[in-house]
Symmetry: C2
Subunit: 203 residues, 2 copies
DNA sequence: TGTACATCAGTGAACGCGCGTTCACTGATGTAC
DNA sequence: TGTACATCAGTGAACGCGCGTTCACTGATGTAC
């Protein structure tokens, strides 16, 4: 790994090599540490070992950088959900498979929220409509965004979709910075599984 | 209404009269317009028609002002929920009453989130645990905080409490700045009622 | 009822800070000959 | 293979901004006599 690949502050070359990526990575680190509000352009350039104005070769303004970080956070959430889906058996009765998929998406969603609260909040902080924005930058390795993954898991259950999504999303936020903030790891996980149980039964 | 009561920029007296209250009101207005991040100490003093340093006679620092605004926002949410509860009939079979109460709390919760998104986000932005903080400042006219109101509505249904709360809270946030942001007023309300239906049936 | 005084809420000027953004520049790189 | 040149990514100094916070101050108010 060379200095330019790592985006480390010291460079031996005048050119950076991959500054755009380095800035998004720095921004993502900051989002991880403090949510979307912590994504600061100057600090990103500092972490990339570059002058502040260099950022303007790759992003129109601070907002554009934040959008890129937001997309990266959504892609990261998608990857976590996909990892959960990848552990499922491919065989069995259709109804059972559908339920298992819903479970996996909900579990991945909550796991990401608990493990990466800053990125989770950033993923949902976009200025434009998330649903219509199905850009590849927001997708996981399978090419689907978190929202498309959820829709797929809820295939044919449109009516109930809102309940499931609301419950999972709401629990995630209550655990992150709502009233359930004080729950510790294991308890949080148990509560998550219980809510997913109920959603499953409710459908 | 005198100038000092309104907290208007022009004063005829050297003393303000009720600066603490005026600052909290100004801060609440700013939270209403742009969420917790928009609560700025200097701007609050400007709106109250007072020098920036005057704020320090009433609040230790910016954080203390924000805490006060957050408490006010929670009290405001409580009032909206109480208003919804006040419209209920007091007579009927216990099970039906309990369901009606749950419905009312959920409806009030969502109504407040849609009508006052900035205050809603502010109410849930506190730094400390909301649940244990049952200070009077956070309560509505009946003396209960939003969380106590929700608990009361879910009386005896502790196991299912998380589902109900998560679903309502999650839907509120998805409508405010999540993927359902683009839903217009009537549709948003309908979706809200449908989710409450499902929660009710789920219990 | 009138006066001296202590209190303390609000003043206003100043501080250092980090931010986003601009601009004329410079020098490494890749290309054309 | 070697040289001239255009490109354009990154420099560094500067800008104005609004922020939170401090400090010695001032003057309206209420109280004690």
């Amino acid at each position: 790994m060379t200095a330019s690949e790592a985006g480390s502050p010291k460079r031996d070359t005048y050119r950076h090599g991959d500054l755009r990526r380095a800035l998004v990575e720095a921004g993502t680190d900051m989002a991880r540490e403090g949510g979307p509000g912590a994504v600061v352009l100057r600090e990103a350039t500092r972490r990339a070992g570059v002058a502040p104005s260099a950022a303007y070769r790759h992003f129109e303004d601070r907002r554009a950088l934040l959008d890129a970080v937001c997309s990266a956070a959504q892609a990261s959430l998608a990857v976590t959900i996909e990892a959960e889906l990848a552990g499922l058996s491919l065989y069995g009765e259709p109804a059972g498979l559908a339920r298992a998929r819903l479970r996996a998406v909900g579990t991945g969603y909550l796991r990401f929220a608990l493990e990466e609260p800053g990125l989770f909040r950033t993923a949902f902080s976009a200025s434009e409509n998330l649903r219509s924005a199905a850009s590849p930058a927001r997708a996981g390795e399978g090419g689907l965004t978190p929202f498309q993954l959820l829709e797929a898991a809820l295939d044919g259950l449109v009516e109930a979709e809102f309940l499931a999504w609301s419950a999972v999303h709401g629990l995630a936020l209550l655990l992150i910075d709502g009233a359930l903030r004080s729950l510790e790891g294991t308890t949080a996980h148990d509560v998550g599984q219980r809510v997913i149980d109920m959603v499953e039964r409710g459908l």
